[in-house]
């Protein structure tokens, strides 16, 4: 049994990509679309790009962003981000026609085809939402006759930290919104809602999640308790994204060898079977 999910065997490209659309969706959340045909050609849900712009080595290294949308016909990709830190605030000032340096597509993808016949339950925690929206779209568009409508839980601490609301609302999914402080949607935690859904469901389920590690760990526990397949996309710093710098190492179980092994979240991941990851310490 493999310790990690398979990778799409396509190479990555470094592209000077012109911005062709850049709009605020809601609050401080923006979608930026850029022309990068080689990346759009093979991009799948769960994969990411490494973005850089600026002068005089400020910033010096790239930042990873999950691919939010890819349009093969138009040769475009987009990312959905929240302008909060210095990098994303500077990104928010990019205009149509400006260039971004983009490396991608990187990483592996959600392997939902392995779980056909199960109802997909997608959990997005905060800024983990963009790859989950891509996955929801991929599932909705990829299945000609969907046996089960995907369930989406979009969760955050508070209303301002919810991401992807507009996009989830436009998809054919049954959407549950939950905030810890009750400022939007239902009050509570994603995991409480997930437990309810698991309890009340008569369909066999498959879980997919992206968000902070403690959330993914709690989801992984539920998956284990109810023997549900679960794929998670981990959020760790990834300065290079091309499997070189070793700054995104994460521990997986190597059961045959009876030990744990470090793999690169950017290369062997970012999507893992939750049961393969070592969750202690998160």
């Amino acid at each position: 049994m493999s310790l990690t999910l398979p990778r799409t065997p396509s190479p990555f490209y470094e592209i000077e990509a012109p911005v062709i659309y850049h709009e605020r969706t809601v609050g401080a959340e923006y979608e930026i679309v850029f022309h990068a045909p080689a990346i759009a050609e093979s991009a799948r849900a769960g994969q990411f790009v490494e973005v850089l712009f600026g002068e005089g080595y400020a910033p010096l290294v790239r930042r990873p962003f999950s691919i939010f949308r890819a349009n093969r016909d138009a040769g475009t990709c987009s990312i959905l981000y929240v302008a909060r830190g210095s990098f994303t605030s500077a990104l928010a000032r990019k205009r149509v026609g400006d260039g971004l340096s983009v490396v991608g597509p990187l990483g592996n993808r959600f392997q939902w085809e392995l779980r056909r016949g199960r109802q997909p339950v997608l959990i997005a925690g905060g800024i983990g939402a963009p790859p989950i929206t891509f996955l929801a779209r991929e599932i909705c568009e990829g299945e000609s006759s969907l046996k089960y409508r995907p369930v989406v839980i979009n969760a955050a601490k508070t209303r301002d930290l919810l991401v992807g609301q507009v996009e989830f609302g436009a998809l054919e999914v049954s959407l549950h919104v939950v905030t810890e402080d009750g400022s939007h949607g239902r009050q509570g935690r994603a995991t409480e809602l997930l437990r309810e859904i698991v309890h009340n469901s008569t369909a066999p389920l498959a879980l997919y999640a992206c968000g902070p590690m403690p959330l993914l760990k709690a989801i992984s526990d539920i998956a284990q308790e109810f023997a549900l397949p679960c794929q998670v996309s981990v959020e760790t710093p990834m300065p290079c994204g091309i499997g070189v710098c070793n700054s995104c190492a994460i521990a997986v179980y190597d059961l045959p060898a009876q030990k744990t092994r470090m793999v690169r979240a950017c290369w062997e991941g970012p999507v893992f079977e939750a049961s393969n990851l070592v969750w202690e310490g998160y």
Partner: protein, 315 residues
């Protein structure tokens, strides 16, 4: 009339490199992710991340922090160990379209010897680079407690080189540590103990703070700083080493483009390593070579070797 540009250089009288631009140790990892994406045709050599005898999992997370025009990293030399690498990494790296140099670090005398013996039996490995930063400084807690004094550091450099020298006929590149000894003095100790070439700079000890948490950012506090921020410090080291010894120098530290590389050559470097720039722009080495060629053509310089240390000869 177009100028015939000659980029070849010699690491030793018998060890020629197709160009002076090397992939610095760690700059492109173990090369398992590059297929179809990174062209290494013109590169002078690919230097592996440092191999140790036993596998190392590396340090705790997080391992990197961005600094002004630099990156502080504290990876802890993660590598699969010699035996696993001989099966997987080395064969793959030997199929790259450029020469291969293996970086090694012995955690004790026996390890230095075994690494040197086993690797010199591999056809196609053209040289060994000794990562001479003491073992303790590669791990979390880097520089906590006592650091070696200058006498101890020089002794460590000499002993490590003598052990490896006795075990192999391959050319030896001494990559000097950035703590413990003045760099010119360290280079003399290395050459006396058998080094054929000197590599500077290793990443510089560095610390980053998290103001809001009133804490250090890295779990082991200190890491190594690489990138454009260290270029002037690295050029200083190349100049100092050029004053101190007469063996070839591999200069590196913040090389991002052809002009940076030419500056290292003029300060005294025979070859130039590109490290962190590769992780930002994976094809930096090809770009740097193209820019060097263009500069040489514009300035009527046919042979790169004629520029080596030119600044030290004039004035």
């Amino acid at each position: 009339m177009s100028l015939q540009i000659d980029l070849s250089v010699h690491l030793t009288p018998t060890c020629a490199l197709p160009s002076p631009i090397l992939i610095a140790s760690g700059g492109l990892g173990f090369g398992d992710t590059l297929a179809g994406a990174v062209a290494l045709e013109g590169a002078g050599a690919f230097i592996t991340p440092t191999l140790t005898l036993s596998p190392r999992q590396g340090n705790h997370m997080p391992r990197t922090v961005e600094a002004s025009a630099g990156l502080i990293h504290a990876n802890g030399l993660p590598n699969p160990g010699l035996e696993a690498s001989l099966v997987t990494d080395i064969p793959r790296l030997l199929s790259l379209p450029c020469p291969l140099i293996v970086s090694i670090h012995g955690e004790n005398t026996e390890a230095w010897r075994t690494l040197a013996e086993r690797l010199s039996a591999i056809r196609g490995v053209i040289a060994l680079e000794l990562n001479l930063t003491p073992t303790a400084l590669h791990s979390d807690g880097f520089l906590r407690g006592d650091t070696p004094n200058e006498a101890e550091t020089l002794q460590y450099i000499a002993a490590s080189l003598q052990t490896v020298r006795a075990a192999t006929r391959l050319p030896l590149i001494a990559k000097l540590p950035n703590v413990g000894a003045e760099i010119g003095v360290a280079s003399r100790a290395a050459v006396s103990a058998g080094a054929d070439a000197i590599a500077v700079s290793q990443a510089f000890p560095a610390v980053a703070m998290r103001l809001s948490g009133r804490r250090f950012r890295l779990p082991g506090v200190a890491g190594g700083l690489s990138g454009p921020a260290i270029k002037p410090l690295a050029l200083y080291q190349v100049w100092r080493v050029a004053q101190s010894v007469s063996v070839p120098i591999i200069g590196m530290g913040g090389v991002m483009n052809g002009e940076d590389a030419l500056e290292f050559v003029m300060a005294g470097a025979t070859a130039v390593g590109v490290g962190i720039a590769n992780l930002i722009h994976p094809n930096t080495s090809a770009q740097v070579l193209a820019e060097m060629r263009a500069w040489m053509a514009r300035n009527g310089v046919a042979k790169i070797a004629t520029l080596t240390g030119i600044a030290n000869r004039e004035g």
